[in-house]
């Protein structure tokens, strides 16, 4: 196998596995049986001074190239030898900015199918990070004591997991809607309070809830108004009244024909190039 030979040559020449600056490479395998490992690339999570980050400085390890069968628990288990792990989070892409804490509901935001991911691992102590960076590996995702299921077993488990409890769903919907109703009621009350009350510069805000309905401020509505104006103007205009208008319409017709002719010629040219005129 060409690929393998080359890889061996590279590995033999370099001695250690190459890794980009700042990262250390740790081989990871699914199980003992797997021959060729993937490599996790580990680095301490750092951001520039002053930039906000949701991950605690010094204690966070950034992991690149996490294989799809490696789950959060599993990664936590693999790295707990370096020190106690506080949290593990897997993401599709690395993000430096604050990751929005979405309310992840298992009903409305089902977990997507994982690919290769990145992980942020927060340790309890900073020194665990340096210990992790010097890991040798190879790490095993699935061991006899902690088997990780894949394939048929995983899909069956996923299927069983996808059959959800309707009662829990009802509960979640109800709580959400209660909160929502409360929020809208508050907003409405506030709007009502402001209705007709001029602000400090004396402007009165006109809302949909006023006594007289007003045009909604949407793009479609303003386009409609413009269109109506245009039509009105067109109706008033005289067509083919003056001699020059007559001349111009004729010329316009000729120009149309010319344009059509040019287009047709281009099509013919193309068809000739494609030998479309060979009938058989």
């Amino acid at each position: 196998m060409v690929a393998r030979r080359r890889k061996q040559a590279a590995a033999g020449g370099g001695g250690a596995t190459p890794s980009p600056p700042g990262y250390s490479a740790v081989p990871v395998k699914f199980s003992e049986k797997q021959q060729a490992p993937h490599y996790l690339y580990l680095r301490e999570h750092k951001v520039r001074e002053g930039a906000p980050s949701s991950w605690p400085q010094k204690r966070t390890l950034f992991v690149l190239n996490v294989p799809p069968y490696c789950t959060e628990e599993c990664l936590g288990r693999l790295l707990c030898s370096c020190g106690p792990v506080q949290s593990v989070r897997l993401q599709a892409k690395p993000d430096l900015a604050e990751s929005p804490e979405e309310p992840t509901s298992k009903f409305f935001h089902p977990k997507p199918v994982p690919g290769f991911q990145v992980a942020y691992v927060v340790f309890q102590k900073p020194k665990a990070v340096s210990a992790a960076l010097s890991l040798k590996g190879p790490l095993l995702v699935s061991t006899e004591s902690h088997p990780v299921s894949s394939g048929i077993h995983k899909w069956i488990a996923d299927y069983a997991g996808s059959v959800l409890d309707p009662e829990a769903l009802r509960l979640e919907v109800d709580t959400f809607m209660e909160a929502y109703d409360q929020r809208t009621a508050e907003e409405e009350a506030k709007a009502k309070e402001e209705e007709g009350v001029p602000d400090e510069e004396g402007w009165v805000k006109v809302t949909r809830r006023g006594r007289r309905p007003v045009l909604p401020r949407t793009e479609a509505a303003s386009l409609r108004v413009l269109e109506r104006e245009k039509r009105k103007r067109a109706r008033k205009e005289l067509l083919n009244f003056y001699a020059w208008q007559h001349r111009e319409t004729k010329m316009e017709h000729l120009a149309q024909l010319r344009k059509k002719f040019e287009e047709d010629k281009q099509r013919i040219e193309l068809m000739r190039a494609q030998r479309k005129f060979r009938p058989y």
């Binding site: 080359r6 690149l64 799809p68 409305f108 990145v118 047709d264 009938p279």
Partner: protein
């Protein structure tokens, strides 16, 4: 005497067209110059992409020249549009002979003339004494009976004349034929040579001697025999130049009698010229009955005498008019694309020229008309005139001695008399052929009138081979059976008239018989015309049975196919006897509900599939009954592909019934939804959105009856779950139904809140359906699954305004604008466009019962080629629908077979780059709107997907092809279709049987880099494979309905789950191909671009590893690990991963 006139004519006649040709080329060159200038400007159309035209203002508004105005006016008055005019001009350029070639042909003709005159004479011998013939040549006719009176000697021809289309300038490429008439000297012929084939025997001997001597001339590359117009009594010699000009031209030599040799009154259609006594070899005393007339024989003799007068007529009529010649050339192309002009009894180019002459003489065509107008007028005339009832005549004289048209109608099916009033030009044309011509003319007129953009393309450039035109095709083989049929049908006089050609004799009666039998099921019956053979001069002429098989094409009437009953007359009527005689033992007396007792024939057909095949039963029954042709000789190609739509162990239907059952169940459910009490808002619409509900699911769902012991139970959710230790359970796909709820002020105006409200409705629906109708339901946040009569439906609640709310964006000024977002587009597609499409296609199925079969076969094929995942269901359905809505130049298919062939043809020839496929559902788009769509398509081409399918509901964006296929995948499909089509057509047209019809459904596997073999145990649809396995696994189903109802396992298909994982993990490194219908292998193609080493980048590290290459760190795919991942991710499912590593390098 001899050569001079020929030479003169050769030089004289083409002289004129030369000038005209030059004029034409002049305009052509101008056009070319202008366009080449433009080509440079418009970024070279060499890449095959049309660009929107940009013309400067000055160019658009400059003063027109008078030439330009003239041309524009001409285009407007003579053609339909400038595009049409340009197309016609281009086409004519392609088919007409160039001057250079004409010169070479003229030179060759002079050589032919000289060699013919050099052939030595032979002394007189008896006709039956043929010992003088040299060894290397055989007489090119069958001399049956051999004994004939008369003497023969060879003398060089009295005159050699070029006749036919070459002189008129209407011959078209690629087969250039020049007809040369050789006038035999009077000394050769004797009185009464018109009798008993004597003239034809002499003619044949004349040619035999001639051919022998010409064969020794080095001027000729080949000298062969053939038949004039396929008539087996009239051979001709074919001469081809030697060397590189071999394919340039074929010169055909036709001997003819000296002028006024035969007395025309002897050759009228009512006269007999083949005596029964001679023909049957009996003594004259035995024949006391009157001799039967021999109209065909007579007209063959007459044809030879009229060669020159026809030429004269045509050259005076067409000679000076350029437009008429163009028209004839176009008509010839038209005939040829429809395979109407070839073979014995075809509607030849000569006939069409004579027809144009006739229309000129009746002032229906004017000499100043353009070629396009001539084409139109002739088609119009053909479409509206039935020559089988009202014959026409070129004869203007009112001579009372001339026979009446009625006499000709008695003798011939189609009547078109020449200027002498004695010769029927359509003598050999059968009624079926003429009806086919008429049918084609009607279709073409409709197409031209529709003002379609590509009318000319469809009319003149699209071939219409028999197998792709007709719904069912049947082959009669061996042909020798027809001889027995002739005797059975008592066709002895016809045999005598046709000189023993039993194929021609039987053709007419057989087609009439079948037409009568098929009755209302039939739209048109056409037959193949026996091909004109060509053979070496040293061989015996081919026998009648050597022309292979007789092929009949049936164009069916879909509405007639639904009835299994052939209703006859009432029992006491006199016609009842005829009916009984016609149908034989199949006819039986039946009592009907209205009390009538009638003769009737009932065919056994329960399913749609069997009903489509009733014509097969009719044909075999009638042929066996009336013509002694057993069903082993009838090879019926009408349903050979249907087996690919049949489920396991089911050969009696193709699933239409099962689909209808599912749709009925859905109708029930929708009624229950409408009538549901206790919903806070009322249901405003229930719409199906699943292929089953528009009849296009390849394998229709069967009611599920799970065997509970086979599953794990989830008691509290009343659901079944697959067990890891058992084979994968049967695949059950829930059918999506969209349920719109009425709009109301109660709906929240926030996207997240709407989702929660919808979820609440899903829960409520489940509750109410199980309370009020006792259905097993399972609700989730986005859908409710309902189990009803074994079918599972997935009801999705939708709110009309939701897509709009998702679109709303508030600008900083507080203005609300609507912008498409991915989420809004997806929602709109799923809840609005998909139901609309489904109902439109459902309607199409009601109009065209074959739609389901065609769409499913097409989908089946695409999926079998492992490309199914790249094309959405809807896009393939739309392509299939376009075959029904825009069938031109064909008619809408009435059988899955022909529809599938046209699907392959469409896919392989459609220009996806430059044209959108417009599917005019419900004919909502007008011609103008379509033109507008086309032009806006060109302007926006670069933003549109590779494959663009537009419908009245979706005029701009091509929703169903947004996410694929990619250009490469589409190209692959085009290539596969182009390969499959000829293979399949050859199989179906093979009269010995199709062989293995599944060949074109097996995908090529050698193109893939890695093959992942799956274990059949976990492929739930294993049985659906193209080559259905002999044994498979138990899938946990019962034959009988089980006791209670737990929700079965839904949508659990391990290969699909596996593929989803693979695509997510390795999607940017490789492509994965799989046939969801029982595929046991996944094909993997590496993306070449991903194998390029790239510099390190954190966000694209996925599955790659680092290498130091030349001191630099680069990323390359970690192929070994990935290959092992393939096995790890699919544990239990994957059997083996075969890497064909020789195909790639890292």
């Amino acid at each position: 005497m001899g050569p001079a006139p020929a030479g003169e004519q050769q030089r004289g006649a083409p002289g004129e067209p030369e000038v005209m040709e030059l004029a034409q080329e002049g305009t052509g060159k101008e056009g070319k110059k202008a366009s080449s200038k433009k080509r440079a400007a418009a970024a070279s159309p060499a890449d095959g992409l049309l660009q929107p035209v940009k013309l400067s203002r000055a160019e658009l508004y400059k003063e027109p020249t008078s030439e330009e105005l003239n041309r524009l006016r001409e285009t407007e008055s003579l053609f339909h549009s400038s595009l049409l005019r340009l197309q016609v001009e281009e086409l004519l350029k392609e088919v007409k002979l160039s001057e250079k070639k004409k010169d070479r042909i003229d030179a060759f003709l002079r050589g032919v003339n000289q060699s013919i005159m050099r052939v030595p004479s032979v002394p007189e011998t008896e006709l039956t004494d043929q010992a003088w013939l040299p060894a290397g040549v055989r007489v090119p006719v069958h001399q049956v009976p051999y004994i004939v009176k008369g003497c023969f000697r060879f003398l060089p021809p009295a005159q050699v004349t070029v006749v036919g289309s070459y002189l008129l300038g209407t011959c078209i490429r690629p087969d250039i034929n020049v007809d040369v008439a050789l006038t035999m000297p009077r000394e050769i012929l004797q009185d009464k040579d018109g009798l008993n084939q004597r003239y034809f025997r002499k003619r044949a001997l004349y040619l035999a001697h001639l051919a022998h001597h010409l064969a020794q001339d080095p001027l000729f590359g080949s000298v062969r025999f053939s038949y004039t117009n396929g008539c087996h009594l009239k051979p001709s010699v074919l001469l081809r130049p030697c060397g590189k000009d071999e394919r340039l031209v074929t010169v055909r030599l036709h001997p003819c009698p000296p002028p006024d040799f035969f007395r025309p009154c002897r050759l009228l259609p009512t006269k007999n010229n083949v005596r029964s006594a001679w023909y049957q070899g009996q003594s004259p005393a035995a024949a006391d009955s009157p001799e039967p007339p021999t109209p065909h024989y007579n007209s063959w003799v007459l044809q030879d005498t009229a060669l020159e007068s026809h030429l004269q007529l045509l050259s005076t009529m067409l000679g000076p008019a350029l437009g008429l010649k163009d028209g004839v050339a176009l008509l010839k192309v038209w005939l040829r694309q429809r395979e109407l002009d070839k073979g014995r009894g075809g509607f030849s180019g000569f006939l069409i020229s004579m027809l144009v002459a006739f229309l000129v003489s009746t002032r229906k065509i004017h000499t100043t008309m353009s070629g396009y107008q001539v084409l139109r007028s002739v088609l119009q005339f053909l479409a509206s005139t039935d020559l089988t009832i009202n014959g026409i005549s070129l004869c203007l004289s009112a001579d009372p001695t001339l026979p009446a048209l009625a006499d000709f109608h008695q003798a011939f099916p189609v009547v078109f008399l020449d200027s002498s009033g004695r010769l029927n030009l359509c003598a050999d044309v059968t009624a079926a052929t003429y009806h086919q011509v008429q049918h084609e003319a009607r279709l073409s007129m409709a197409l031209l009138d529709s003002k379609a953009d590509d009318a000319l393309q469809l009319l003149l450039m699209t071939p219409k081979p028999m197998i792709r035109t007709f719904d069912h095709v049947l082959h009669l083989r061996p042909l020798s059976r027809l001889q027995a049929a002739c005797h059975r049908l008592k066709l002895w006089p016809e045999l005598q008239d046709n000189g023993g050609d039993y194929v021609s004799a039987a053709l007419g009666p057989l087609t009439t018989l079948l037409e009568q039998g098929l009755g209302s099921r039939l739209h048109l019956l056409a037959h193949s015309r026996p091909p004109v053979p060509e053979w070496d001069i040293s061989q015996e002429p081919p026998k009648h049975k050597d022309s292979g098989a007789l092929t009949l094409g049936l164009l069916l009437r879909p509405e007639g196919l639904t009835s299994v009953l052939e209703l006859g007359p009432e029992a006491d009527q006199p016609e009842a006897a005829d009916f009984r005689q016609f149908w034989g033992s199949r006819s039986e007396l039946r009592r009907f509900q209205d009390g009538a007792i009638r003769e009737a024939v009932v065919w056994e057909a329960a399913s749609m599939f069997q009903k489509r095949l009733i014509p097969h039963q009719v044909v075999t029954h009638l042929l066996a009954l009336h013509a002694d042709i057993p069903d082993t000789c009838v090879h019926y190609a009408g349903s050979l592909l249907d087996s690919l739509l049949q489920g396991l162990k089911e050969s009696s239907n193709t699933g239409e019934e099962a689909l209808a059952a599912a749709v009925r169940c859905y109708d029930d459910l929708s009624r229950q939804l409408w009538g549901l009490e206790g919903l806070p808002l009322t249901v405003s619409a229930v719409q199906g959105a699943h292929p089953v509900l528009r009849y296009t699911e390849v394998f229709p769902p069967a009611p599920v009856r799970p065997a509970y012991s086979f599953y794990e139970h989830l008691r509290e959710r009343a659901s079944l779950v697959p067990r890891p230790d058992k084979p994968c359970p049967a695949y059950v796909e829930p059918m999506t139904v969209i349920c719109h709820l009425e709009g109301s002020g109660q709906w929240p105006q926030d996207a997240e809140a709407i989702r929660r409200v919808r979820a609440a409705f899903q829960l409520r629906l489940a509750e109410l359906l199980s309370q009020q109708h006792g259905l097993r339901c399972r609700a989730a946040a986005t859908h409710t699954d309902v189990l009803k009569d074994g079918f599972v439906f997935r009801i999705r609640v939708a709110y009309q305004r939701e897509p709009q709310i998702l679109k709303e964006i508030r600008s900083p000024e507080g203005m609300i604008t609507l912008r498409d977002t991915p989420a809004s587009l997806r929602l709109e597609r799923d809840t609005r466009q998909l139901p609309l499409l489904s109902s439109a296609l459902h309607g199409l199925q009601q109009q065209h019962p074959a739609f389901s079969g065609v769409a499913r076969l097409a989908k089946r094929w695409v999926r079998a080629q492992l490309l199914g995942e790249e094309f959405t269901d809807e896009s393939l359905d739309l392509v299939a629908a376009s075959l029904f809505l825009h069938p031109e130049p064909f008619t809408p298919p009435s059988s899955p077979q022909v529809g599938f062939l046209r699907f392959l043809f469409l896919v392989s020839t459609f220009d996806w780059k430059n044209t959108p496929l417009i599917v005019n559902l419900n004919s909502e788009l007008t011609v103008e709107e379509q033109a507008e769509i086309r032009s806006s398509f060109l302007a926006a081409r670069t933003q549109l997907p590779v494959m663009v399918i537009l419908t009245p509901q979706d005029r701009k964006s091509s929703v169903w092809t947004q996410n694929g296929p990619s250009a490469q995948i589409l190209q692959q499909l085009v290539v596969l279709a182009a390969e499959a089509l000829p293979v399949l057509e050859k199989q179906l047209m093979d009269p010995r049987g199709p062989g293995d019809i599944r060949t074109v459904f097996r995908p090529p596997l050698d193109i893939y880099d890695v093959l992942i073999r799956l274990s059949a145990r976990h492929v739930p649809r294993h049985r659906q494979a193209v080559d259905s396995p002999a044994a498979s696994f138990c899938r946990g189903l019962l034959r009988e309905p089980g006791p209670s109802s737990l929700m079965p396992v839904l949508g659990y298909d391990p290969p699909q789950l596996y593929l989803a994982q693979l695509r997510e993990a390795f999607g940017d490194l490789a492509l994965f191909f799989y046939d969801r219908h029982g595929g046991e292998v996944i094909g993997v193609l590496w993306k070449p671009s991903s194998f390029q080493p790239q510099p390190f980048k954190a966000s694209s590290m996925k599955g790659r590893t680092l290498l130091s290459q030349g001191g630099e760190l680069v990323m390359v795919p970690n192929v070994e690990a990935i290959l092992e991942d393939f096995a790890v991710l699919g544990e239990g499912l994957v059997q083996a991963v075969e890497a064909r590593s020789e195909r790639w390098t890292v």
